[in-house]
Every structure is written in C-alpha cells, then in structure tokens.
Amino acid sequence: MQYYDTGKFGIIFVLLMVAFILLNIKRAKGEKGLFIRRIPGLNAIDEAIGRATEMGKPVLMVPGIGDETQIGVTAQALTIFAYITRTAIRFGTPIRLCCANATTYALAQEIIRDVYQTEGMMDRMEVESVQFISDRQFAFAAGVSGLIHRERTAATFFLGAFYAESLIFAETANSIGAIQVAGSTQNTQTPFFIAACDYVLIADEFYAASAYLSREPVLVGSLVGQDWSKLLIMALIFVGFLANSVQRTQEIDEKRTADGRWIADEAHKRKASETFLHTLFNPAAKVRGVKVEKTFASLDAYVQERKQELGAQADPVPGGEDEIREQKGQWFRWEVVEDELTRPIEDFVVIAPDGSVLVTQEWRGRRQRPETEMPPAGEGGEAV
C-alpha cells in the first residue's frame, strides 16, 4: 500500500498518537511520581466544597447537555463529579447532579450510587441527588436555574459539553454568590465561562482533571502520552513552517494534477497545494480503473477485436465523456458473463484525429447479483 500522497499518513499519525498514549500508560504503571503541573481550577474544588459545607448548602454539578455521541466528554465530567461527590459526602454536604440526557442520567446514577456505597453512606443519598431535568435545551436551563435559586447552591460545577445555556447557568449561580468551577470542550462557550465563573478549566485541562485529582497511573500515563502527541504536533507544525517557508519561495515550471502527477507548466511560485506537507495529508484523486495501452485501427476494429477478446455477447454501450491524463475521451461499457453472472467492464476510449482508437484506461467492475435478488443494505448501496 502506498502511504505517501494517498492520505493514509493521517491514519499513521493517529496510530502513532495512540501508541504514545498506550506506551505511557504502561510506563506510568511501572514508575511513580510523574509530574502534573498545578491546575488552579482543580485546586479550587476542595475550597468550593468546603464553602458549601460551611454554609450547609448543596453542591450542584451539571455534566452539560452532550448526547450519546459526546459520551466521552460526559464520562470525563462524571469521573470528576465522582471525586467531588466523595469529598462532599465525607463532609456531609448534599449534592445535586442534574442531567439533560437519559443516558447520562443512567450513567450518573450508577457512578454516584457507587461512590455513596464505597463510602458506606447509602442512607445519605437522596432522591434529588441525581435527577433528570429535561432533554430540551432551554427547559433544562430553566430547570437548573430554578434549582439554583430554590436551593441556593453554594458551589456549582459546570463540566462537560455546554452550548447556549452555559451563560444562563453561570450568571444565575453568580447572582446567588456561588463559587463556580466550569470547563467545556466547546470553544464557543469557554469565553462565557471565563467571563462569568471563578475558575475555568480550559481545553485539555478538562481531560487532565481526572488524572490530576486521582493520580491513577493509567490516567497520568495517558496525560503524558497526550503531551508527547502535542510535542509531535508542535514539531510537525515547526517542520511545516520551515518547509513551506522554503518551498513557497521556490519558482517551479511544473504543476501538480488532481491525480497527483507533476506535469510541465509555466514558471510560477510554488503554490500551497504543491508543497510536500500538503501532498502528505491531502490524497490525490484516484483515476478510475487501471492504466492500459491498447491501439486499434478504427472504432469498428476496436468493437470487433475487443468483443472477441472479452467474449462479450453484445456491443459496448457508450457512456460519459471524461478527461484522463490530459486526454479527452469516452467510456465504453461492456458486459461479460462469468460463472453465470454478469461483470461490467469499461474502457476509456480516445479517438485520434486520424480515426485510430487508443484505450488508455480499463475498469473492471464486480460480478453482479441477478436483478431478481434485492440489493444489499448499507451506505455503499448507491449506484456507481
């Protein structure tokens, strides 16, 4: 398999990052004391819970409104909430965890119940500890805002996937003087949280939180693996910057075609699409079929000789016009029978000014099911 100029480099890059993460998880299990820098937002968690304990008010946690496709974000938020819950119940502080998604609710209830159980305080788990509010965005926003006002929550944690409701939560909690720690994976909501909350986890600090709080080797190792991946990305950006800076100043007399070939052209400064790194990540369009070189004296000769060669029963059907390797031509579709099944074969036919025929490309389709059978399911079911 050719990886350069086919777009497969992206897959190799992802696999490399996966390897970094797994390798560091293995390393972390063997080593102790890998360093994680201080994250103020996470240090504030204990302070916020302490304040709620002093005031005798509940701690509110909201894991965002992410759906099943964002379960990773929600699971991360719930992992942090498990830590918050453990700390809160040790001080006898009630918790309120509001969910906007039934799946999140089921998951949250299991996790929080498990925390109460391991702490031996099942009797302190209340009906309202974990609750489903609504799966409609603003109904959920109204429900949570109402809860903040009614229960006068002293500490609020908004961690997860938030959208337009983020500021409603943050400003409502601010209006009652609650300490707020927030973090969202949505770029558009982070500024709102920064403006309205006391502490904000920005970007991957949100993902680093569980490692920071628990110091579990798997999580710490994973975090170090992420840092290695970041170094790789940074190195690639630097190499890209250098390579492009040099290449973009070069004057070349060729251009890159859509199918990845370099052909002669007027002298020009190398374009961004003609740089090495661009070709590494952007696959060239594949030409249909395989390259062949067959010449025939005329179109009639092509039909007769090819019919004999393929063992086809009928003449070819002329198809769409196309341009391949700077040659204009037309596809001709044949149907041959193999093991009682038909197989389409198409030739790209270029007719020269003298009437001779050149076949430059041949496409062999798959054998076809008889028409009486129904087509298969799946997204590949559309016509060619």
Partner: protein, 302 residues
C-alpha cells in the same frame, strides 16, 4: 398491529432475512433468547463477574468502529455488486452492518428514556409529598407532563386515522398546538433571549480593569466590537487614510479599525482556538481509548 411492518422491505444481509420467512423468525428467536439470557446473567452474576462482560461488549462495539475507520472501503460499490476476495467481503460486511450497529444505540436509548421520565416523576412526587418549598411547581410539572403526553398522543392518533384532520382542526389539534407552539416554544424562546442580558452583565464583570490580562481582553474586545460599527469604522478609517496621505502602502494603514480587528482575529484568536482544539482532540482520543479498552475506571470502580 404488525410489529414488524417496515416502510422499505429489509434487504438481505448477514443481519437480515427475507420478510416473513422462517429464517427471520429463527433469527428473532435467537436474538431475543440471547438478550434475555444476558439480562438474566447480569442479574445473578456477582459484580466482579459482570465487569469482563461489560469490557468485552465495549471492546467489540468500539472495535467495530475502529475497523470501520481503518478497513479499506470498497470503491464504487454498485447496488448488485458481489464482493471479490476476503478484504472486499469484510469491507462489504462492515458497510452493511453500519446502519444496524448504529441502530443498537437507538434501542438502548429507548429503554433509557423511560428511566429519565421515571426520575423526573419520582423527584417531583417526592417534593409534593413532603410539601417542600415551591412544591406547586412540581405539581405543575407533573400535570404538564401528563397533559402533553395525552394531547400529543391523541393528536398523533387522530391524524394517523383520519388525514382530513390536518385540514379541519378539532379541539385536540387546537389544544396540542397551543401547548407546544403557543406555550412550550414561546417559553423556550424566552429563556434563550435572557442570554442577551446575561452577556451584558458577564461582559461588564469580565472587562473591568483588574489585572493586565483583563486590560488586554478589554482592549482587544473594544477594537473588535468597534470594527463592527459601520459609521465609526468609516470615520476612523477615513482619518487614518488622510493621515497616511491616501498612500496604500503607508505604515499608518495598519491602524485602520478593520485591519486591527482582522489582525487580532487571524493572529491571536485563530491560533488560540486551534491550540485549544488540538488539546481537546487529543484529550478526546485518550479518553476514547481508555473507555474502549476499559482502562477508564476512575469514577465507577473506586
């Protein structure tokens, strides 16, 4: 009622069988027995024994999507194509399985939504019983829930049985419309509109000059906000152009409002957002990997 009625006849694949055939019933029976067996097994197995089952199911489900991403996709697949060779065969199988496997999540969600409604009713009835503060809102919520379900289902059922109802509304359609479009949607819009006022109060606090960072934020925000005010931009840029003597390559042109705002956007905002996206993407990758391989146990097993 025909529970297996489908708008489009299911095409034959590994996941299906011809409509109404014995093979279909056999497959349904096997799937049902397997599902029931799993539920019973989960009920009676000790907690420790459940974990490997969950881990295996997670690995298989995640493995399917990893395979879908990494396995070569069959090119230009026609509706009647027969796969050629092992690689194409697996590729075809994966493509056929995608809608089926994606449907698994919908089935699980259908079960879970019931749990959500149960929680909602339990919490609010508990509040009403205890006569907690603002218990009447809980009563209103339960009443609204029942009313919406009753009228929603009634309306759907009438429209299904009598298509002329769509043209000639009855009391049911009027009430259903009043509840949904007339009340629910309007209240949602009202909640959304509150954000405008919250933005103002949050911005006021954020832009107060308390530190160097807040001052930089204020300056950058001011330039970007002013650059969106047409009349002001016209006046300011005109002054700058006059100062530059209307020379297009004069240094002073860098201080046109639109230029400054574009510079902030292209050189400060975009790289910042990209950096955050890299971090979030890597975090998601690591999290997904830990979930897939059942290494992520911090919240559940401690």
């Amino acid at each position: 009622m025909n529970l297996f009625a489908q708008a489009v006849p299911p095409p034959p694949s590994f996941w299906n069988a011809p409509h109404g055939s014995n093979e279909l019933w056999l497959r349904i029976g096997i799937a049902f027995s397997l599902g029931l067996g799993l539920i019973v097994a989960f009920l009676f197995l000790p907690t420790k024994a459940r974990k490997p089952i969950v881990a295996t199911a997670t690995f298989l489900a995640g493995g399917f999507w990893v395979l879908y991403y990494l396995w070569p996709t069959p090119e230009a697949r026609g509706p009647r194509d027969i796969p050629e060779g092992f690689f194409e065969g697996v590729g075809f199988w994966i493509s056929d399985a995608v809608p089926i496997v994606a449907g698994f999540a919908n089935i699980i969600n259908a079960f879970i939504i019931g749990l959500g409604i149960y929680s909602l009713i339990r919490v609010n009835i508990h509040r009403i019983k205890r006569g907690q503060k603002d218990w009447m809102f809980s009563a209103l919520l339960i009443a609204s829930l029942i009313t919406m379900v009753v009228f929603g289902y009634w309306d759907w059922n009438m429209k299904k049985n009598d298509p002329t109802v769509v043209e000639n509304w009855t009391f049911v359609q009027l009430t259903s419309d009043l509840l949904f479009d007339g009340m629910f949607q309007v209240m949602e819009s009202a909640m959304f509109s509150i954000i405008a006022f919250f933005i103002l109060s949050a911005a006021y606090r954020a832009f107060r000059i308390r530190s160097i960072e807040a001052t930089i934020l204020l300056a950058a925000a001011l330039v970007v906000m002013l650059s969106l005010m047409g009349a002001l931009v016209h006046w300011w840029d005109g002054q700058v152009s006059t100062m530059a003597g209307w020379e297009s390559d004069h240094f002073a042109n860098n201080f046109r409002l639109s230029e400054m705002a574009n510079w902030i956007s292209a050189n400060l905002r975009t790289p910042g957002i990209r950096a955050i996206e890299f971090g979030v993407g890597l975090g998601a990758l690591a999290m997904g990997l830990r979930l897939w391989l059942s290494l992520e146990r911090g919240g559940i097993n401690r």
